[in-house]
Assembly symmetry: C2
Homo-oligomer: 199 residues x 2
């Protein structure tokens, strides 16, 4: 009761957003209906276009509706440095530190128990990218979790024999944390303090 | 930089939602793109329909795409009780208390300095609703602010001469609260409105 069917549907639909419960979804719905319908319609259009058109960058596999994402399309970047992350949001986090090399975005981390092996997370595409590029160093910026460490170790074993210097972001990032929740200063320190990995 | 144009547009569009800043909008966007595109498209559809089709209930003026909202269409309510609130979200709050009379929803409160007089907040429609109905009591449930009090006072002066009993929701200490956390004005109201205890 209490809300009409279309308002109830809007409240329910908003709850797919992370961190949005019933009460927040109600406030969002009524505020848009009462004060910003054109903003609500713009949001609907932006959602439709993004959900239908955004794919993956051909080169780094981050989310992008263009064949090359802004980072891959930028000619003024350091082509000798490759930063390997496990999610598109981490590209944004690393960009904030001032890093201006190239990226490769894995689809998460290795998780054998969930059946997520090297193919599932994009390791073949990473090897293809490395073969096509001219990198001297690859920075492993997977999350500082057990799975992120294991994924970094696995990649190091594959890439060191190819003549690359492999480094891991320093443990200035808190263990067990998620990379995109770390503040920019901490992440910048972690990048600057990265350590070369040897086998 | 860092996000492709359609993703940037989605992040910007999400920021019209109350309480959603840049970081939250990023997380929402990437989570939908990576894990729930069908949910994102359902949200877009729900937004479009609600923004385009939701109007106002003919009788109580709450938000509704139907001519009569669920509360006005319900035949099993007490037609002698009218609860007057200043926003559609307040209908939901009062419903939660178990109230099962009728409602009238003002468009905010009187605010002469902002040029919001009786016509702007729907007083003529309220008088029409009272004339059409058969109410014996009207409960003034405008917000417990200076403006809400002034609006309640204004309405009481109009409706008492029409033979209705007018009441105002009680001010007092919130249930479950701690006395020393209650502001002085509220506590003064609670003291003044004290009730005799009988055994
Ligand atoms: Zn790219
Ligand atoms: Zn109604």
């Amino acid at each position: 009761m209490s809300f009409s069917p279309l308002i109830r549907q809007l409240i329910d639909a908003l709850r797919i957003l992370p961190g949005v419960g019933q009460k927040t979804a109600q406030r969002m719905s009524l505020q848009m209906l009462e004060r910003d319908r054109s903003g609500g319609l713009r949001l609907a259009q932006a959602l439709t276009r993004a959900m239908e058109e955004v794919g993956y960058c051909r080169q780094c596999r981050t989310l992008s509706e263009e064949e090359l994402c802004p980072q891959c399309a930028d000619p003024r970047r350091d082509d000798s440095l490759l930063c390997i992350v496990q999610s598109p949001v981490d590209v944004f986090a690393v960009e904030q530190t001032g890093f201006r090399g190239r990226y490769f975005v894995l689809k998460g981390h290795l998780s054998p128990l969930d059946g997520l092996g090297p193919e599932a997370i994009g390791i073949p595409e990473l090897l293809g990218r490395v073969a096509d590029g001219n990198f001297s160093e690859a920075i492993l910026a997977t999350n500082p979790t057990v799975e992120g460490e294991a994924t970094a170790h696995y990649i190091a074993q594959l890439l060191i024999p190819k003549g690359l210097t492999l480094s891991r972001i320093a443990h200035g990032v808190p263990l067990g944390g998620e990379l995109d929740l770390v503040d920019g200063g901490t992440l910048a320190h972690a990048l600057a303090g990265r350590k070369t990995i040897t086998l």
